[in-house]
Amino acid sequence: MIELRSVDKVYSTGRLETLALAGINLCIESGEFISVMGPSGSGKSTLLNVMGLLDSPTRGDLFFNDMKVEDLSDRERARIRNTSVGFIFQSFHLIRDLPLIDNVEIPLLYRRISGRERHRRCRDVLERVGLGSRIHHKPGQLSGGQQQRAAIARAIVGDPQLILADEPTGNLDSQMGDEIMALLQQLHSDSKTAIVMVTHDARLADQTQRIVRLFDGRQVH
């Protein structure tokens, strides 16, 4: 589904260049649940951003469903992100002034779906993640775990092929983290959605099918 071939990512700030990724060769198949581990600054989040088309490789090739991403326009990349990818961020990134249902609705706003259908799907997915009674709550009125569940709901409402989760349990205590992990496992088994999860927690990584390890931007085995 996703293939990276000799991908490098270099960040330039003035005269300073930082090699965030170097020579990454990676294949993610449909339905895989993999985790990405490594120390801070090893390039884990950068890898996720490149896979999610939020960032572009400096060198190398990225293929998404056999399409070479470099050849795609910004509009086409946005369309792929909308239809095929769901993001879960460490700090949730819910819009604090919107109720949950409006937050979860965001991916569907950029598709041709009626308002009624959008709300129906949002209610269903919020029920699925256990927040059916909180749809009109604002993020500030929820616990960290509930906010992350809402973020998961937002990530899956559009039935993406791929979920990219950047330290989804990083801001949660262990109990909440376990709950989130259980939810991701359930999502994976129910819908066979591919999930790539960045984590520091070896316990959680062991629950996935494969672990990709990074160190200083390079894959280590």
């Binding site: 939020l54 992100r81 993001f87 819009i95 937002r154």
Partner: protein, 405 residues
Amino acid sequence: MFMRRRFMTFVNLFGITFTLVILFMLVALLDHVFGNASPEANQNRTLGLYRANLVREDDAGGVAALPGYGLLDRYGRDLPAVEAFSISTLFRRAISYVEGRRIESYIKYTDAAFWDVLSFEFIEGKPFSRGEVRDSLRYAVINEATRERFFGSNTALGKPITIDTEVFVVMGVVRNVSMLRIVPFADVWLPITTLHDYYRPDELAGLNFGLILARSPQDFDIIRRAFSARIASADMSGNAPYDKVIAVPETKFDTMARLVFTQGKSVASKTPHLILMIVLSGIVFMILPSINLINLNVSRILERSDEIGVRKAFGASSASLVLQFLFENLLLSIIGGIVALCISLLVLQGISDMGIIPYAEFQFNYRILLYMILITVTFGLLSGLYPAWRMAHMEPIDALRGRVT
């Protein structure tokens, strides 16, 4: 979305409203002076002779004034394609005394065709006729304010009215005319033949207006060419040391344009220049508050960078976000426009009520509404385009990380 940062929204709204109030009032003023309204309801087929310049070939000095009676009478009458031609004087003050009370009025002398060219609203009686003007009969048409001053709540028809020690009989009462409409404006209209020494055949520059009601606007060129041919061979013998007279049948706006750009010394039309100057002035006036709003809007966008990053991450294209932001800004501008409209109407009503400009009643019409909508939308786009562009070029990953500047 406006309730999220209420103070910023309020500041935005205040800036928009303040700017639009001033622009709306200028539009209302311009419409009041130049727009079609009684008694100048036929302006689409009316030309006027509003200026006359006497010049020397060597360009050493000249006279700039209104047309003289001689110029209008000798060269303005019987032009082709003309339905009616009128000569009238500029208004002047006159004094009357009623039961010991001193009353000041503005009086104007006109011919009978004056009432054909213009469309006054008579609330009593009728205007004086050609025969009555020819016979110098001492009839007067007064406005309702003068009726009130002289006769109270009683009818004025057939009653005598003394103007500057001369007695006239009221034969008609019309609605008040705003002083800003300087051509038809007066309190009392009198037959021009009752003015001592009105007939001055050699006078090319003076204190008169000529009004030409064309059969149709398509005849304007015919009229202008015919007049231009006559005036080119004008007899200047009684107007030494001047060699040439410049006068053009044109609209009031055209006259103003020629005055602004050439002091009336050239016949070349400067109307497009004046329109451009007004439009550019409007835009320049909007630029400063627009820049202020742009700064505010950019700050709003930067504060919302997280939201923008999320939307982009989940598939919002730059175009859809630009449209979203422009729509928000336009909506704010429209709200500001509505508030500005209400404030403008109140201020204009206040100006009307205070009588700062005699008889000025600023009316709201579809023309003004159209211009106001145009100004509001322009302002909304002007203040929203650059911030929207900034938003469009924000990388989602930078927006999510709060790394935007």
